[in-house]
Structure formats: structure tokens, C-alpha cells
């Protein structure tokens, strides 16, 4: 199973293994990683699962679609590598993915 490393804003690291097909958001929830709220449960409606994809993985995780991009324009502390983690589906090719979490979601 692919491994994902979450790094919280305080630098705490959480390495989790999740089945391919799971979203990065759900991976965080399933493993109790703090910092992802995911209020809407992955409907791309709330922008409370904001994360920063490590630069080395930006290309592999793909680009946000139009809706996600518009939401990202208004998240706290947006950066060029900002994503909504509900919109990134874990695949075998993402084994080793590193994402950082913002200090606050709203």
C-alpha cells in the first residue's frame, strides 16, 4: 500500500499507509492525522482539507480542476503548491508522497 507522509505546521510527522483509490484527505482522517478537518467529507465544497504538496510531488499529483482552483484562491495562506486533499486520489505512483498541513483551515 502506498505510503503518505503528513507534516503538520509544527513539524510533527505522520507516516500512514493507505489503499490505492483512497483520497489523501481520507488517509488523514482514517489515521487520525490532525490538521485536516474535511467538513464536507470530500465533496470539494468546504476547503477545510487544504494541504501543500511537497514540490517533488506537485507534478505527479496533477493540477486542481476549475472548482478546486477557485476555492484555493481563498484558503488561508495559499501557496502555488496548495491543494484540497480530498481531490488527490492516492495511487501506487504516489507511494512516498509528502504533504504539509497549514496552521489553520478556516
Amino acid at each position: 500500500m502506498p505510503q503518505i507522509k503528513f507534516i503538520t505546521h509544527t513539524g510533527e510527522e505522520h507516516e500512514v499507509h493507505v489503499a490505492a483509490g483512497t483520497s489523501v484527505m481520507q488517509a488523514a482522517l482514517d489515521n487520525g492525522v490532525p490538521g485536516i478537518l474535511a467538513d464536507c467529507g470530500g465533496a470539494c465544497s468546504c476547503a477545510t482539507c487544504h494541504c501543500y504538496v511537497d514540490d517533488a510531488w506537485v507534478e505527479k499529483t496533477g493540477k486542481p480542476d476549475d472548482v478546486e482552483e477557485q476555492m484555493l484562491d481563498f484558503v488561508m495562506e495559499a501557496q502555488p503548491n496548495s491543494r484540497l486533499s480530498c481531490q488527490i486520489v492516492v495511487e501506487d505512483s504516489l507511494d512516498g508522497l509528502v504533504v504539509r498541513l497549514p496552521e489553520s483551515q478556516i
Binding site: 482522517l29 487520525g32 467538513d39 467529507g41
Partner: protein, 408 residues
């Protein structure tokens, strides 16, 4: 481990959040979540969408997997109905008469559907409500391509269900008693927009419909209106609102007033008992009035406040309500509460296309936005209203001005 025991009644959105937040906030005692369904807490919004049409399996609805609760030392007492709360002896009673002691109790009992028990034919097969997984499992036995559905109630649940069934290739009629759909919650322009889109998608919406009876033998076959119209139906979904589930709280003598009355720390009139979510009547500092909200946001956010309270951290509940509803290709996101508005400012065209935002004002004060396929407008307004900002109506209405520029 301490000998404290927090019992959470309701394996719901709020229940899942409360249990999780309790652990995260440092509760070292036992945590039990009691729920009458056999499944761990799950997301309800997909019930009228992905779960209804079969795209999603119930496992995919879980907020967190069962293993998470196990690892967090949270006991899920599923398939159990609580029949009473004994505040003097600090224990709850289950349906099998078992009694469990608590030091702290959380009521996240949610809401229950308003039933049309006086409607002739309501007991026929194929007449369903839509609130939990079991309801949808039942509905799924009656639906499929080419079949006919009549939905009683043109609110969000009714319209979402209509959209899902239409996408499945069913014939769908929505019956609304009021002059327009979504009358209680949106401006006329937004109602008209939803009526138009549902019409374009092939849903038959009848407003000011007086349902007289449901006809059939065994299973429902048609819906009879007072004006003589008869509409064929293989399934009837009744979505005419919910009521807070306050039975246990009321029987336990807690203060009730359109929900379980809680203070800003989510405490009921008994401070060893907190409550959160759809079942509570609580004060909202942004709108400066007491509210009872039916939403995921309120369930999860108020649950966090309640968990903090039980851990001795008193932090007043103070959040901007927000909601969402997905129908067809329409992503509706709502920030704030529009009740009390006297003016609507539109950004974009409601009469053509499928993207606009309706901003609700009371005098000069922006109250809320309904943003349809307008994530920027939603995000900006949610942030602004949450931090006490107001907006300029003329700038909001002018699409040549960036949305950020309209807020001050």
C-alpha cells in the same frame, strides 16, 4: 486511565466528531458512543446522491473506519437504543435494560423526519422518508430506470433526490405545497433558478400542490392531488422537514425549546450533559439570536465546542453557519443565514446559464450568499462574514469588479 466515562448518545456526524475531539482535547477516561444503527458514524449528504444511485457502497460513507475508533480507545456501542437517562444516578438505560454509568454525557441525537401520518395511503409500500441509511436501503428497492417517483416537498432533500433519480433515468415529479420550491430558505430568484434547471433536466415540479391521498394496494401506485390530478408513482419520497429529536432530553427534564437548549459552551441545563448538532437550540453571536441548525457544519463545529467543555476548556461557540447542496452540475454553497433579508443582490445571470451568486442584505448589512457554481464568491463571503466584514452591494453586482474588491 481515569475512572471517568463520557457517553455520547448518537453515532452521527456530531457523535463522531465529539468522540474524536474528546480524545484530541485530552480526555483520558473511557469514551462510549451509542448508536441505534449497526454501522459506525457515516456521512449523510451522499445518502440522497451517490448512495441512492448505487455509486457508493456504505463502507465508503464512513466518516472514519471502525479501526480508527479502536485505536483511539473509543467504544462504539452500535445497534443500541437508549431508552432513558437517569440524571440522579448518572446512568443511561439501553433497550435491553442494561444500565451504564456516566460521569459526562453528550446528546447528539439529531433530528427525525416529520411524518405525514394523517395522509391517506401513507402506510403503503414504496412510501419512504429519507434520513438515514436504512431509509435509502428501503428506497433502493423501489427505484430504477423508467420507474416513476413522486417527491413530496421541494426543499433541499427533495430536490437533491429528484436530481439523483432523474440521472438514473426515472420519471420524477416534485410536489411543493408552497408557491415556490425552497421557499423557506432562498430568495424567489434562486427558487426560480432551481425550478428552471429541474425543468430543463426533465423533472416535473408542481407548486401549490395539495396532496390528498396516496393510492395503491400493497404498494403505492399513484398520488392523488386535491385538484383531481393523479400522478403515477412506483415510489413516493416524503421530504417535508425534520424535528429535533429531544425525546430523551425532555424525559430527563432538560430544558427544551425548539431543540435542547444549550449555552455558548454547548452545556444543557444540566452542566454534566452537553449537546451538539441538529438537536440543539443555541446562541449564534454573529447573528445575535438563538438558532437551531440542520447542517453538517453545525454538527461538527458544535461537537468540538462540547468536547472542549467536557475537558474543562470553556470556549464559546462562535461560527458562521454554512451549507452545501449538489444537484446535477450545480454546486450550491451557502455562507451565512439569509433569514430576515430585505434585499437580494445578484452577481451573474439567474435566467440563463448555471452560475451566479445571490447576496442577501438586511438594510446595508450583508447576511449571506447562495453561490451556485461560484466557489470564489462562497469562499470570500464565508471568510468575510466570519470576520465581521461587510460588502458593497453595487460592487457585488458588477462582475467587472473582482469579488475581493467588494468587501471592506
Amino acid at each position: 486511565m481515569s475512572t471517568e466515562h463520557a457517553i455520547i448518545i448518537g453515532a452521527s456526524h456530531a457523535g463522531a466528531q465529539l468522540a474524536t475531539s474528546l480524545r484530541q482535547s485530552g480526555w483520558t477516561g473511557k469514551i462510549s458512543v451509542v448508536g441505534d444503527e449497526a454501522i459506525p458514524p457515516y456521512h449523510r449528504p451522499p445518502l440522497s446522491k451517490g448512495y441512492l444511485n448505487g455509486d457508493k457502497h456504505s463502507d465508503e460513507l464512513l466518516i472514519r473506519p471502525a479501526s480508527f475508533y479502536e485505536k483511539s480507545d473509543i467504544d462504539l456501542l452500535l445497534g443500541n437504543r437508549v431508552t432513558g437517562i437517569d440524571r440522579d444516578n448518572k446512568c443511561i438505560t439501553l433497550h435491553d435494560s442494561a444500565s451504564i454509568g456516566y460521569t459526562k454525557l453528550a446528546l447528539v441525537t439529531g433530528a427525525k423526519v416529520r411524518k405525514l401520518s394523517n395522509l391517506p395511503g401513507h402506510e403503503l409500500g414504496g412510501v419512504c422518508y429519507l434520513r438515514d441509511l436504512r431509509d435509502v436501503d428501503q428506497i433502493r428497492g423501489y427505484i430504477g430506470k423508467g420507474k416513476s417517483a413522486v417527491i413530496i416537498g421541494g426543499g433541499y432533500i427533495g430536490l437533491e433526490t429528484a436530481a439523483s433519480m432523474r440521472k438514473m433515468g426515472m420519471n420524477v415529479t416534485v410536489l411543493e405545497a408552497m408557491p415556490r420550491v425552497l421557499q423557506r430558505v432562498t430568495a424567489p430568484e434562486v427558487s426560480a433558478f432551481y425550478s428552471r434547471v429541474h425543468g430543463e433536466e426533465g423533472v416535473n415540479i408542481i407548486c401549490e400542490a395539495a396532496v390528498e391521498s396516496l393510492q395503491g394496494s400493497g404498494n403505492v401506485q399513484s398520488v392523488q392531488l386535491a385538484d383531481g390530478t393523479s400522478i403515477p408513482a412506483d415510489v413516493v419520497i416524503i421530504g417535508v422537514g425534520v424535528m429535533p429529536d429531544v425525546e430523551l432530553a425532555e424525559a430527563a427534564g432538560l430544558e427544551i425549546d425548539n431543540g435542547i437548549v444549550v449555552d455558548e459552551f454547548a452545556r444543557t441545563s444540566d452542566h454534566d450533559i452537553v449537546a451538539a448538532g441538529d438537536c440543539t437550540n443555541h446562541y449564534n453571536p454573529i447573528y445575535q439570536r438563538r438558532l437551531r441548525l440542520e447542517s453538517v457544519q453545525n454538527a461538527t463545529d458544535q461537537a468540538k465546542t462540547a468536547a472542549n467543555t467536557l475537558c474543562g476548556k470553556l470556549e464559546a461557540y462562535n461560527t458562521l453557519p454554512w451549507f452545501w447542496s449538489d444537484q446535477y452540475d450545480l454546486k450550491l454553497q451557502i455562507a451565512g443565514l439569509s433569514q430576515g433579508f430585505d434585499r437580494v443582490v445578484l452577481r451573474g445571470d439567474t435566467e440563463a446559464g448555471r452560475s451566479f451568486a445571490a447576496f442577501y442584505f438586511e438594510g446595508d448589512r450583508l447576511l449571506a450568499v447562495d453561490a451556485i457554481n461560484r466557489p470564489k464568491e462562497f469562499m470570500m463571503t464565508r471568510r468575510a462574514l466570519g470576520s465581521g466584514q461587510n460588502a458593497d452591494p453595487a460592487k457585488l453586482a458588477d462582475e467587472s469588479i473582482e469579488i475581493q474588491q467588494a468587501f471592506s
